[in-house]
Symmetry: C2
């Protein structure tokens, strides 16, 4: 790991910070990891923003092919780091090798998916309404629309996906695909992983002969740098995955700038699961296995972790809870990402455990090394859940609550009472169809993704994915942070009226040299 230098990457330059120093910690041992990362200051934010601004007009007009190759080059550069990346990420996060390798595959896969999306060009949403010079009473001018990039984007790396939601993660990939330069504020939990990936992007920028300001990487403890980034007038949008308090503070800053900007925060979700009566009866035990496996995945540190189970009280539900409790008791303790996350988890579980309306069903195995979490399963009634809003607060980690309802109407009442979610899950059999149909309209209003007979952990990177949802799951339910539709977060439409063909952007020329799908005079051309 001698290649790590502990520097900020400002365009092609390596810059030594002079603010408070960050060290990664191996959560499995508590050991401090080298090198030190001296945090940046507002001076480095200013430099990175200036470079990004200077790069913007050039980068946003790179050809579809150039931009696609750039995204593919980033993927290749990340793969070229080889095992050093896997090892460093494992050491910094406590996550197992298979998970990190899988996440690397996902990260590179999503960069390549966006390359294909860029090439296809549907995101330009080209619309042409040709002139109608003889129309009465007024002629129609020639009107053409395309989408252009919003501007430089600030990306905040997440703690729980050190690759797929971090330096070259979903937000970076979609913003670069849209034509936006990116400045990443690395998560302080995995600075080494961030540096390695940041250098891969830096190398790809150089290899593709792009302006250096297309990418910069900042380190910094506390909120100073993040705030400075979000309020910088050259930053035109931001993506964030993290805590509700952190997300809301930055959202507030983004909205109160002299020029407000879109701020995409993914913040909080407890991902309710609705096991329905017939399914519970027919396969409650099997369901309990699947549920606990999903709950424990990655030590429960998924945004889509199933933190709530809502069902009608019955013998079958009791059996499900008992079976889940038995399985959960066998769950080995797992290392959490950081001491801070572990501490917050312990506090959250203890809040549930001490709650006089909440009954503890089971706890998992205790650990014998630092920062290990003990899974947890709790039960409460619908009435008590409705009465105490605190019971809706996310406990980030492998703990879930079962809400016992009197009947299906109360299940719907609980669903209506929920805040916005990333996912909701139905466990149902054919005979549950009517009940599921009754519940569906509520679920659609509450969540970005509705699953049947699966588990919410595991987010497919594809065209149809929505990783988003009503507030407070995210700050903007109109978009997704995973999947190819994420490119739309960083675009805005521009209309060109009566431009001579020589002045039109390539995408809008009458001869359609890029062979794009167009809505031409209201009809889809393909």
């Amino acid at each position: 790991m001698s290649s790590l230098q502990g520097n900020l990457l400002i365009g092609q330059r390596n810059v030594t910070g002079n603010s408070k120093t960050i060290h990664a910690i191996n959560p499995a041992t508590g050991e401090t990891l080298e090198p030190a990362y001296a945090g940046g200051s507002t001076a480095e934010v200013d430099q990175a923003c200036q470079l990004a601004w200077e790069a913007f007009d050039v980068y946003r007009e790179t050809s579809l092919e150039e931009r696609a190759v750039f995204l593919e080059t980033i993927a290749s550069q990340i793969e070229a780091i080889g095992n050093d990346l896997v090892e460093r990420a494992m050491t910094e996060t406590g996550l197992p090798q298979a998970r990190i390798e899988g996440e690397r595959g996902r990260t590179c896969g999503q960069l390549r998916l966006f390359a294909s999306v860029v090439r296809a060009g549907e995101w330009l949403d080209v619309r042409v309404d040709p002139a109608m010079p003889d129309r009465e009473p007024m002629p129609r001018p020639d009107l053409r629309q395309r989408h252009i990039a919003l501007g430089p984007v600030a990306v905040f790396g997440a703690s729980n996906f050190p690759l797929a939601f971090s330096v070259a993660g979903g937000d970076t990939a979609s913003a670069l695909a849209a034509g936006c330069p990116v400045i990443v504020k690395a998560h302080s939990a995995h600075p080494g992983t961030s540096e390695l990936v940041g250098r891969a992007i830096q190398a790809a920028v150089k290899q593709c002969n792009l302006p250096e300001g297309v990418f910069s990487l900042l380190f910094g403890s506390g909120r100073e740098i993040g705030h400075a980034l979000v309020v910088d007038p050259r930053i035109k949008a931001a993506g964030f995955t993290g805590s509700r308090s952190g997300g809301l503070a930055l959202l507030n800053a983004a909205q109160n700038r002299p020029e407000p900007i879109p701020f995409y925060a993914e913040m909080s979700s407890i991902n309710p699961v609705f096991p329905m009566a017939h399914a519970l009866k027919a396969r409650g035990k099997e369901m309990a296995e699947g549920f606990v496996a999903s709950l424990n995945m990655g030590a429960g540190q998924f945004c889509t972790n199933p933190g709530l189970v809502i069902a009608v009280k019955s013998q079958a539900l009791d059996d499900f809870v008992a079976a889940a409790g038995e399985t959960l008791k066998q769950s080995a303790a797992q290392t959490m990402l950081t001491p801070g996350i572990h501490e917050a988890y312990e506090q959250g579980v203890s809040r549930l455990a001490k709650h006089d309306k909440v009954r503890e069903v089971a706890r998992g195995q205790t650990g014998d090394s630092p920062n290990q979490c003990q899974s947890g399963l709790f039960v409460t009634t619908a009435e008590d859940f409705l009465a105490d809003h605190e019971l809706q607060e996310e406990v980030f980690g492998a703990t879930s609550q079962v809400i016992e309802c009197q009947n299906e109407e109360e299940v719907i009442r609980i669903a209506e009472h929920l805040e916005g979610q990333l996912t909701v899950t139905l466990q149902m059999d054919d005979d549950d169809l009517a009940a599921a149909q009754a519940l569906l309209p509520t679920l659609e209003r509450k969540a970005g993704r509705i699953l049947v007979n699966g588990w919410p952990t595991g987010v497919e990177v594809c065209h149809a994915m929505v990783h988003g949802g009503p507030y407070p799951a995210t700050s903007d339910s109109r978009t997704t942070s995973v999947g190819s539709a994420a490119i739309f977060r960083f675009l805005r439409p521009v209309c060109y009226q009566n431009l001579p063909d020589g002045l039109r952007p390539e995408a809008l020329k009458e001869s359609n040299p890029l062979q794009l799908t167009r809505l031409y005079d209201g009809k889809r051309e393909s």
Copy 2:
């Protein structure tokens, strides 16, 4: 006009308000118009929101055909009002008959355009990633995406388009098209026009057998009702066209709700025009005619009024200014929409006239009846414009400033200095192409629509239109308020994973019964 009752419309009910009374004023005479409109209170806001909420799940799942027919029925009902509508609108606004009739045509045309958009179903943006059960290392589930309506929408009628941006205007049409119930807060300047159109929508709701909460119409002076609407938890988005202060106050309320919502405000734009050197020389006089005609259109009360002219100082520019001044001097005084708007215009012009760095070129004719405006043309230098931010403030009405620049670099500097705009206009000849190309990247970053050799007033309702732009032209540059793409403002994506076909919404069924365009496994099906 005996049919006017002065009531609020809460679903199908006519409700008499009990707050402060509104009277329309005929701006051409100063005469107070009957009937009185007793304003609503928060109680009526609550009733309208409750009805809208109850209607939402039903209305958003109406078939494409049902919803299209509803929009067409609204158009027919508006036309059926006949001349009473034209007369009342003329009396309330001081606008001439041809303009009101044209605006009625546009209003009904855009309702019918949205009907065709709803039927085509592209707005659903259906994406299907079919299951891959044999994929290694993990099978892929079946994932399908469609867009659904955000929820009940609050619409604020604008003063300057009593039909096309008011009760059944663009925001209402696009929100209804998306599947959102609408509650309109009528603009107090034209309550009678609002009531007539509101009753037309109310009749269409009944005729189409839709839940009554699909539409309500509120009256109220001051900001109480508007604020109550925007903060009501059942309202999920809002559209606004009006002043910057009014827009920002409501935007702030929308963002600071427990659950923030999208708030689409169109607020302020001075719509710069860039006459380029060769065009100025070749046809400066003709250009001056076109410019003054656009400036005077509708007494300058267009969001896209050309309030700024930016060009390199030259003899040709002097000649243009002189010719424009001569034409403007002949401009007849025109009645403005309201006494308040007239007063604000007088203040704005007087601020310019008294400014020691601003030179008055010409004023139009004075009027002899109340609330008539005198057009105005002023000149200042780029240096002085850059030094005083106040000179960028919109003067709503037929007044424009010419900014004299030293050279083309200074033109670009001025362009960079501008706030976000709805439109920018280039007047250019073939020999101006290089200069136009140098300016274009800046213009794209500043405006929603770029015109060549036309004038910004006159907004075509079509597929390629963008009536929007960076802040403060609007609060959200990612959307448009005019044209078929406006439907996207009121939608959000939802992903359905592994739903049995029986539970899938019609739009997502495997057999594609609605024959929608889909992105199927990444490929466009048509």
